[in-house]
């Protein structure tokens, strides 16, 4: 009956989930100077072995006593100045370990996923998302580019206890828009990797975008689905990338199954063939301006979609926006920004900018309904067994749609933009729906280039909990 949640600047709150009464609070002491662009946000905590785990802005992991909030252990994953990256994603628990990714990909660094023993904090294993010299895949990086090639592991992975595999989406290669100094496919950036949960060893990988020059992180959630494909039951993994494409693979071996778009304005490729290869790449050029759709904010943003086993549909958002990108040659400096270009957002050429939430068949990508939104929808989607779909918008509305038709059934104005993830839970047999409200973030900032008025949207940091009488 206790809810644990984090707020920006690495604070953790334990709250009575029935009454909202605070039980304990913890404030991590970050150093005065962070100076890493992936700050000061946090996406959540994990709970296991009587502990609450959180990654921090100075690239550490802390374990707190679940009952009191007392810090039990802390480990610095890597020096903040060296990495130029930190941890904003919620940790994942798999067996005895707590597993964390790192931010990055827009800095000169080499990404990784690290597992720590939940009890002692000792490092159990590390998987480097870029293979080192002598390792398979290192040949997909020209010269020394592997050292500073990004491959951040921003979000929370997924764990399949039956297959004993941990799945994680890996972000873009660095520099974002300039690829001439990192010739090759750049493994395992823009890939989903499957790791042995005990050792962190690679079991398989599936790269969605070889040699990305658009900053299309493949770092979003890995949705594990058991569904028939052409009449045959398959264990699947669905992942939407920042370029606006959904990839479905077999999660036992990484075999490609399907790909389909979540945004209408996509021009960086013309499509994906039957084997999962990209067609018609439209790459930014050095010193020239190229219009690329979607914008770097993504054909979908970072917060997760939802699958409903009741309808059998996957619910996710999409965004219609573009940008003018100019690539530029850039040399890496360890731990420092490494973009290789500049961009300016613009509305799509053939229509209005905006967002939408859609219901899809998870394999064919067939769209069953669309809910249109004036602004991009940046909050996560929640599907309930009562056939309701919950999400919120930048104007502060938290609302429920009919899972079968998309019709709006209920709306509540929370007073500040919705940017987090709603959850459903029950205490003593009563169901609750909780959502955080509070505007902000990098994407909220760049939205001002298309919608200047969002700058005036109210900030906030409030948790709302709803129940039926």
């Amino acid at each position: 009956g206790v809810m644990y949640l984090s707020t920006s600047g690495n604070r953790v709150h334990a709250i009575d989930a029935e009454t909202g009464k605070p039980i304990w609070q913890y404030a991590y002491q970050n150093p005065r100077e962070i100076g890493v662009i992936y700050s000061p946000w946090n996406r959540g905590v994990a709970v296991g072995a009587g502990r609450v785990f959180m990654g921090t802005l100075d690239n550490s992991v802390v374990a707190l006593d679940q009952k009191t909030g007392r810090e039990l252990w802390k480990i610095n994953v890597e020096s903040l100045q060296q990495c130029g990256c930190n941890i904003t994603g919620a940790p994942l628990i798999a067996k005895d370990n707590v597993i964390v990714g790192v931010t990055g990909g827009d800095s000169a660094h080499r990404g990784y996923i690290t597992a720590f023993n939940m009890k002692t904090g000792r490092q159990a294993w590390r998987f480097w998302t870029i293979p080192g010299p002598g390792e398979k895949g290192n040949e997909t990086w020209s010269g020394e580019s592997w050292k500073y090639g990004g491959g951040a592991t921003w979000m929370t992975g997924s764990f399949d206890p039956q297959l004993n595999m941990v799945y994680w989406g890996v972000g873009n290669p660095a520099a974002d828009f300039y690829g001439d100094s990192r010739k090759g496919d750049n493994l395992y950036t823009d890939s989903v990797v499957a790791l042995d949960a005990d050792t962190g060893k690679l079991k398989w990988h599936h790269q969605q975008i070889p040699h990305d020059v658009w900053d299309w992180d493949t770092a979003y959630e890995c949705v594990l689905l058991d569904l028939p494909v052409n009449g045959k039951p398959r264990k699947l993994l669905l992942n939407v990338n920042k370029g606006g494409y959904t990839f479905v693979v077999d999660r036992t071996n990484g075999e490609f199954v399907a790909a389909w778009p979540v945004a209408r304005n996509i021009n960086w490729i013309t499509g994906v063939d039957a084997k999962g290869n990209l067609l018609g790449r439209n790459e930014p050029k050095v010193g020239q301006t190229t219009m690329v759709c979607p914008s770097i904010g993504g054909g979908r943003s970072w917060n997760q979609g939802a699958y409903s086993p009741k309808t059998g549909w996957f619910y996710t958002t999409g965004i219609e926006w573009c940008q003018d990108v100019t690539a530029q040659k850039e040399e890496p400096k360890e731990g420092k920004e490494f973009f290789g270009g500049v961009f300016k957002l613009r509305p799509p050429p053939d229509g209005k900018p905006g967002g939408h939430l859609d219901a899809y068949d998870p394999i064919s990508g067939k769209k069953h309904w669309t809910y249109e939104s004036k602004y991009p929808l940046l909050a996560s989607v929640l599907a309930t067994a009562g056939d309701l779909i919950f999400t919120g918008d930048p104007e502060g509305n938290f609302f429920a749609l009919d899972a079968k038709t998309g019709a709006k059934l209920w709306n509540f104005q929370t007073g500040s933009g919705n940017r987090g993830s709603a959850i459903s839970y029950s205490v003593k047999g009563k169901q609750y729906i909780a959502t955080p409200s509070g505007w902000g973030s990098a994407v909220a900032g760049i939205m001002g280039q298309i919608w200047p008025e969002v700058e005036t949207f109210r900030n906030g940091s409030t948790l709302f909990v709803f129940a039926l009488p």
């Binding site: 005065r32 000792r122 920004e337 900032g445």
Partner: protein
């Protein structure tokens, strides 16, 4: 005197133009500020009046606990003054920010990482840097290697024992080598050195059976792991970094 100089500098179109270029090379890059001070990940700077001393402090020292880094080691004082002058010149800017324009590669920043062969040996793959800080990098758990005399460094790196490391035994039977940290009432901090990186564990005094001098712990990654050439590189780097970058 400095502020007076800044004040006059702000009115000089040549300084503003220089600040414009520096802003494009260092500030309106990728995911930081927008072109011409447009809204981006960083806040909008166009059409807003900022105090010069605030701007100088934000650029020089960064903004505490935020994404805004300190530029004091990346830009010279007169460069910072030029950027301040440029941002102040945007106070009256109205309408759209200029379109994204190609800018030359960002100017080489002063104080970037010196590339020395010993650097990788010190910092990469959970080696020295996971336990020792040097030149503002790494994690300061073990002794300050910058203070070790040059003649003693080789012996310190290869040391198989340490006078500082203890063996901690807990009630549940667990034992581990540790550097002891702060003690606070009922709690004791111990940096668990079982494997790098060290884990700072805050133990209840009541769960500790004993803390005794360690007999077996050693620099696992270091002892005997280096060729004479690597050892020379490592020591040269430590001496170089300790002298100040």
């Amino acid at each position: 005197m400095i502020w007076l100089a800044l004040f006059f500098a702000a009115a000089d179109p040549a300084v503003v133009a220089r600040g414009d270029k520096l802003f494009a090379q260092n500030c309106s890059i990728g995911y930081c500020h927008g072109a011409g001070g447009a809204a981006a990940r960083g806040p909008r700077l166009r059409g807003r009046a900022f105090d010069a001393s605030y701007l100088r402090s934000a650029i020089h020292d960064g903004i505490p606990k935020s994404a805004m880094p300190a530029f004091k080691e990346r830009m010279k004082q007169d460069e910072i003054a030029a950027v301040v002058a440029y941002v102040q010149s945007l106070a009256g800017a109205t309408g759209e920010a200029p379109a994204t324009v190609p800018v030359s590669q960002p100017a080489p920043l002063t104080g970037s990482t010196p590339v020395k062969p010993g650097y990788a040996l010190f910092f990469e793959n959970n080696r020295c840097g996971s336990c020792h800080s040097l030149g503002g990098r790494g994690t300061a758990v073990g002794p300050d290697v910058g203070k070790v005399a040059k003649a003693d460094l080789a012996a310190a790196i290869n040391a198989t024992r340490s006078r500082l490391v203890r063996t901690v035994k807990l009630k549940d039977g667990e034992t581990f080598p540790a550097l002891m940290g702060k003690e606070d009432g009922a709690y004791v901090e111990a940096f668990d050195l079982t494997a790098p990186p060290p884990v700072k564990r805050t133990l209840e005094r009541a769960e500790i059976v004993s803390v005794t001098p360690a007999s077996t712990w050693s620099h696992q990654a270091a002892a005997g792991a280096y060729t004479p050439e690597q050892m020379a590189d490592l020591i040269a780097y430590i001496r170089f970094a300790a002298a100040g970058e």
